[in-house]
Symmetry: C2
Subunit: 157 residues, 2 copies
């Protein structure tokens, strides 16, 4: 079991693009969801797939279990999703010792761009790049689970 | 993905015991559940563990995905169950070309004994041993998911 500690922001400008890698295409969907836990299937670059179980209510820290699964299983699970299949391209952007992940949504959620930084400890203080917008850590409307089931958040800056 | 086709009965007498193997201790719990799908963790004989995702409403046929997981992950997931942890001993009982599984529940569900037969095709007609009680195929109150969350069914023959 791994702990997940992260902060999450909307993205205000394209400043991140000059430092980004070429990105990876992700397709993911929720296989089973409850209020405080979920099972997600994610296909990385149409090459490999992983099942992730997340348990816990805390926004900053949740229990996470991950297992590799076959592409066949993964593609079949996508067709049985709870909510929509989320399509996005994930870019890695290094910034002052931390790696930010910028998710550019496509398909049903096109227009949404979100940046996350993963920390080793809750006390870590990553420097905030100037292209960040409003912080949405803990705003469950922006969780992929909510985006898949309830769609895009209306009020965006 | 595998299809699961089975019939399920209460057990009326101990007649099955003379043909049974020595049985395997199972501990299992639901990690995430929805009305028509679930994720279950099961520990077999305190030796190995498997995660099972079941999707679909049909009582006879459901989509099923299974993955081996570490005992550490499994034991940790048991402590985060939705509902109670189910403890039972599963015996295999051959009868006229089919193998029946007799589950003798312990712990919170002690007293409940259920027999299942798995079929290759929905048209298979397994001979019914005389120690069977009422058929409960499709009675969702007797699903392990319902037993874990709602407890034991009151009216039993």
């Amino acid at each position: 079991m791994a702990k997940e500690i992260e902060r999450k922001f909307l993205v205000a400008s394209d400043g991140w693009r000059e430092h980004a890698d070429k990105g990876t295409e992700l397709r993911q969907a929720y296989v089973v969801t409850m209020d405080n836990r979920s099972v997600r299937i994610r296909i990385h670059g149409n090459k490999w797939a992983r099942l992730t179980i997340k348990i816990g209510k805390s926004a900053l820290v949740r229990n996470e279990y991950e297992y590799d699964v076959s592409m066949d299983d993964a593609k079949e699970m996508l067709t049985q999703a709870v909510g929509v299949v989320i399509e996005k391209r994930r870019f890695r952007v290094p910034h002052k010792g931390f790696t930010w992940e910028v998710d550019v949504y496509e398909g049903a959620l096109k227009g949404l761009v979100v940046a996350e930084v993963e920390m080793k400890r809750e006390t870590d203080l990553p420097a905030l790049p100037e292209w960040l917008g409003r912080e949405i850590t803990g705003d469950r409307r922006y969780s992929n689970q909510s985006l898949a089931i309830n769609g895009r958040v209306e009020e965006q800056e």
